[in-house]
């Protein structure tokens, strides 16, 4: 952790609330990328990111300066994202189609609209991908995104999700298996391949 961040933490704890913005400006892009991937939409991504920074601020007196603030707030954001996804999965109205699509997210920091390149190259693949992701449970989705897309170690994922490492690993494996079935043109007859006869 750099001296700038250490100084920002010290000033924040001394009563300078605006010093926390230095930390947020540095790490918000990374946190927001992850929360967007986990939650799947810009509104939830911002909400999870803000909740993560708010929790980090409140827990700042107990933060050990030997650790990296970025890693710390990232792990908090992991948990916030998972909790938000689980809350949304229980909220039926949240998945309802808005009357005016696009309006709530016009002012979002993360645009939900794909880039022109993605729109050109992966429009259909993107829809299939999003459909496939909907088949995952919040735990599987979060574990898969953190392990594959965010390339986080299983131990960190397990810590962030509050589950044993083996549970996190199995969640990742189940997620890949589900995605593989959803994205495959034709489902394979079996998921277990016998060893070639000796």
């Amino acid at each position: 952790m750099g001296n700038v961040e250490q100084e920002a933490i010290r000033r924040t704890l001394a009563g300078d609330r605006d010093a926390f913005r230095v930390l947020m400006d540095r790490h918000l892009p990374t946190v927001l990328r992850m929360t967007y991937r986990v939650t799947g939409n810009a509104v939830d991504a911002e909400e999870a990111a803000q909740e993560a920074f708010l929790l980090a601020y409140k827990k700042l007196p107990g933060f050990r300066e030997q650790a990296a603030f970025g890693t710390w707030v990232y792990r908090i954001a992991m948990n916030c994202s998972l909790n938000l996804v689980e809350r949304r999965s229980r909220d039926i109205s949240w998945n309802a189609v808005p009357l005016e699509p696009g309006t709530p997210t016009d002012n979002m920091a993360v645009s939900p609209r794909p880039t022109p390149e993605a729109e050109l190259l992966h429009n259909e693949a993107l829809r299939r991908r999003e459909r496939a992701m909907l088949t995952l449970t919040p735990m599987e989705r979060t574990a898969f995104i953190l392990r594959h897309m965010e390339e986080q170690p299983l131990q960190i994922i397990a810590d962030a999700l509050g589950v044993p490492i083996n549970s996190a690993k199995q969640a990742v494996f189940r997620a890949v298996a589900k995605l593989r079935r959803e994205l495959a043109p034709a489902p394979l007859p079996t998921t277990t391949l016998a060893k070639e006869s000796r």
Binding site: G15, T30, A49, A125, R129, R147, A184, T191, K195, R198
Partner: protein
């Protein structure tokens, strides 16, 4: 040809499952299993197809994407959204850099434990030394080969050269009742020369102890010089008051018995006491008030007994039994929720000494103190009245144990108020009666007056 290494896979593990392939692509397989999967993929087309499908699935979800670019407007908007929810932290309290202020509970308890160990060691050492002291005259018996002393005359006459104004007690020349065990004899007390003490008096070593026996014999039974004149000796000298005093003060026999019996045991003295105390605040309710009239903010605060340990240092100088003073500094740390409360006290008291019983002395003190409290970066100072009563057990010439009760009476500090964090100056209308039970180790400079 088999793709599997029989050394790596047990019979029930000879199947590569989909999870193994997923772990293979996620780099979660152990190195040895990776080699086995590689060999299996080279020889099993179905396994190869499954592996390619999994790889394509993972490839559909790209990684290594850069962090999302956020413009300044987006950052500003998120900060404005977050900022109102952020509480403002208060700066940590500035702790005074005095000795007691630097005392933290982390090492206070080891220090207390060390002091207790030292006190215990001193107690054991003193107890052991008492059992290994030179024998007193009371324990010396007359050898059977010596001539018995004639029956003493019932004379209570003092030594002819001993001034009548000199009290035996002043020289610690108390009558020794154990002299009754001596057999009555008409012979002079030459038995003492036959069995000289282990460490004879430097000035009287060749001299019989006959002249000194009246000083240690019980009144009415000790032979006097006139009743039992000793045989003439060329080296015999008549004892004087000075020699008697010298003998009584230099002889280990007398010192061994008189150390704890001097009436001047407790004066004068310069003592330094280091002690610990349990702090107990009497339960009461304090009313904290800010402002006047309708704008007054009042809050009631309950004080409850607390089991807190503090540290104390005291210097005491005693000029006479009824004239002395004591300077005391004390520190105690309390906890209130997540915040700590430190109380410092500097006191000056007038000390008088009370009755004495062997090694035990008593004293009482009364005076004034300044009590400073530090809580949540706020400091308050209050004058206080101090009273105390205690006793001291002398362990040796320099060391002693002190037990004391002290009480402070001062105006309650407005420390636990929920009004205070708002930055309002809060006044308190009640008083605090704080009791301390103190146990400490005392060091006496110089020597006790009877040594």
């Amino acid at each position: 040809m088999t793709p599997f290494d029989d050394n790596l896979y047990q019979p029930n593990e000879d199947v590569i499952e989909q999870d193994d392939l997923i772990a293979f692509h996620l780099n979660e397989l152990p190195h040895q299993q990776v080699r086995a999967v590689h060999r299996a993929l080279q020889s099993n087309p179905a396994l190869q197809a499954e592996s390619m499908a999994i790889a394509a699935t993972l490839h559909a979800f790209p990684k290594h994407e850069p962090a999302l670019p956020l413009d300044a407007a987006a950052l500003n908007r998120m900060w404005r959204t977050l900022q109102p929810s952020l509480p403002i932290y208060t700066a940590p309290p500035v702790v005074p850099s005095s000795l007691f202020a630097r005392m933290s509970p982390r090492w206070a308890f080891p220090a207390i434990a060390g002091s207790a160990l030292v006190a215990t060691a001193l107690l054991v050492a003193v107890h052991h030394s008492r059992h290994t002291q030179p024998p007193t005259l009371a324990t010396i018996s007359t050898p059977s080969s010596t001539t018995p002393t004639p029956a003493p005359a019932p004379s209570t006459a003092s030594h002819p050269e001993l001034p009548s104004s000199v009290s035996p007690n002043e020289f610690n020349l108390r009558p020794q009742p154990t002299n009754h065990a001596w057999p009555p004899s008409s012979a002079p007390l030459e038995t003492a020369t036959a069995t000289p003490p282990p460490q004879p008096f430097p000035a009287q070593s060749p001299t019989p102890l006959t002249p000194t026996t009246p000083s240690i014999a019980p009144s009415g039974t000790a032979p006097t010089k006139s009743a039992t004149p000793p045989p003439p000796s060329p080296t015999q000298t008549q004892p004087t008051a000075e020699t008697l005093a010298q003998a009584s003060t230099q002889s280990p026999i007398h010192r061994g018995r008189s150390r704890w019996r001097s009436p001047f045991h407790n004066s004068p003295a310069n003592e330094l006491t280091l002690g610990i105390f349990g702090d107990l605040a009497i339960a009461s309710r304090a009313t904290l008030t800010d402002g006047t009239g309708t704008s007054a903010i009042t809050q009631s605060v309950s004080q409850s007994p607390g089991a807190t340990v503090g540290a104390l240092a005291s210097f005491r100088q005693q000029f006479s039994p009824f004239r002395g003073y004591s300077l005391t500094g004390a520190y105690v740390s309390l906890s209130s929720g997540s915040k700590g409360l430190q109380i410092y006290e500097v006191a000056g008291t007038y000390v008088v000494q009370g009755p004495r019983l062997r090694r035990l002395t008593t004293s009482a003190e009364a005076g004034a103190a300044l009590v400073a409290t530090t809580y949540d970066n706020s400091h308050t100072f209050h004058p206080a009245a101090v009273i105390g009563i205690g006793s001291e057990l002398a362990l040796s010439r320099h060391w002693g144990l002190r037990a004391e009760y002290r009480a402070q009476f001062y105006k309650s500090p407005a420390l636990f108020s929920t009004i205070a964090p708002l930055g309002i100056s809060v006044s308190s209308s009640n008083n605090t009666f704080d009791s301390n039970a103190i146990v400490g180790v005392t060091y006496l400079f110089g020597r006790r007056s009877n040594d």
